[in-house]
Structure formats: C-alpha cells, structure tokens
Amino acid sequence: MANTVIGSTIVIDGEITGDEDLVVQGTVKGRVSLRENIFVEESGVLEANVETATITIHGRVTGDVHASERAELKSNCRVVGDIRAPRVLIADGASFKGSVDMDA
C-alpha cells in the first residue's frame, strides 16, 4: 500500500480527502479530511482546516485541526489555529497560537 507524499515543491489548492496516511512536505491550502494519520514535515505548510485521526506537525499549520485521536506539535513547528483532540502533545520549542479543546 503506497503512502501518499506531497513533495516539497508541490502546491495543492483545494480539498484532499482520503483514507490513508498523508505526508505533507509541500503546501496545501484548503481543506484536508482524512481518516488516518497526517504528518506535516518541516517544509510542509498547511493552510487548511484539517480533520483526521492523528496529526503530527513539524512544519507550519494555519487553520483549525480536529483530530479524533491525537494531535502532536513537535519542536520548531508553528501552528496558528484551534486544536480539538482528545490527546494533545505540545513539545518544547513548538510555537502555537490558538485554543485547545480536549473534549473532542
């Protein structure tokens, strides 16, 4: 089963839906709605509202995140937006502006 990798020079302006893991090294603007795991790497930029099972952010996310299992903000990430997830991990060095709601 292939893993979906959005390369660092790729820009997607629109909506991504799907049923498998997604690795974002490029730019996605719009909406992302997955049922699996999203990894936003350091070069990744997500300007989108996201619905997913888990999300792990090393890059930049601007938008609301709704994770049904877990949201993880790693060191050096920059996140602006609201996070709704039952488990939220924010690492030392992460930059985050928004609200956290763990009653998701």
Binding site: M1, A2, N3, T4, V5, I6, G7, S8, T9, I10, V11, I12, D13, G14, E15, I16, T17, G18, D19, E20, D21, L22, V23, Q25, G26, G30, L34, E36, N37, F39, E41, E42, S43, G44, A53, T54, T56, H58, E69, R70, E72, K74
Partner: protein
C-alpha cells in the same frame, strides 16, 4: 539523500495504527526536514482524493483521484488505478490509468496499454500503445506553454 529510504513508498505497519511514523521522537521523518531534490517523487496514494489545483516542480505519481487542474514541471505518471478528471499540463506524461480532460505536455505524452483517456492531447511526441483506449484529438504542433520549457 538522507530522506531516500523513507521516500520510496515505505510499508507502514498498518494504516490504522497510531504508532506509525511520528510517535518515536527520533523517527526517520521528524528532525531531518526535507531535502527534496527534483526527481524525489511525490505520490498521491490510491485512497486519496484531491479536489482543486495541484502544481509543483517535481515528478508525480497519481494512484488516487485528482479533480481539477494539474500544472507540473516534471514527469507525471498516472498509475493503473489513478483517475484524473482534470486538465493537465506537465513536462511529460505517462498514462496508465484514467484521464478525463486535456493533456498538454512540453516533451511527450505516452498512453500505455490499459489506459483510458478521454480528452485532447498536445505534445511534440505522442505515443499510444496497443491496448490503450483513447478518445480525443491529438495535436503535435505545440508552442511550449510558459514555464514548461525548462530543461531537466
């Protein structure tokens, strides 16, 4: 390339498991960042749908579904399960799946056996293999679209 081992479609343990890539602190994806050079290969997996405009400067393999527009400086492969309902502009295109829309390439378009293309194709070189389904016009006298003339 540090990211090379992880770039080719890896085999994640199972799609539903939460202990996939990112959970371990020293995991291969995290701290290294991206060192993408052209030809790294971007893959849109079989269960992903992208609706909108996709643009980029690297090679792309589509195994899922794309609706809208694709503008790529690079080699585009539409894998056997891929469905593209979009107008496509790329440096070169290899179709093994389904395309509904116009394809315009700076170098070549290849329509392989088993592919289904409904739309017009424009490229200096067009190859249609035995067993391909094709409906549309072929235009081989093409002025390069802006930005796609870059040699790779």
């Amino acid at each position: 390339m540090p990211l090379a081992p992880a770039r080719t479609p890896p085999s994640p343990p199972s799609s539903g498991s939460a202990s996939g890539f990112g959970s371990a602190p020293g995991s291969g994806f995290g701290p290294r960042g991206s060192t993408s050079t052209q030809g790294g290969g971007c893959v849109i997996g079989p269960r992903i749908t992208v609706r909108g405009a996709l643009s980029g400067e690297e090679d792309l393999v589509v195994e899922g579904r794309i609706e809208g527009r694709i503008t790529l400086i690079g080699h585009l492969v539409i894998a056997p399960g891929g469905v593209v309902e979009a107008d496509v502009e790329a440096s070169s295109v290899e179709v093994r799946g389904q395309v509904r829309g116009d394809i315009s390439a700076a170098r070549s378009i290849t329509i392989e056996r088993g592919a289904q293309v409904a739309g017009n194709v424009r490229a200096p070189r067009v190859m249609i293999h035995d067993g391909a389904h094709f409906q549309g016009a072929v235009d081989m006298d093409v002025a390069l679209p802006d930005g796609l003339g870059r040699s790779r």
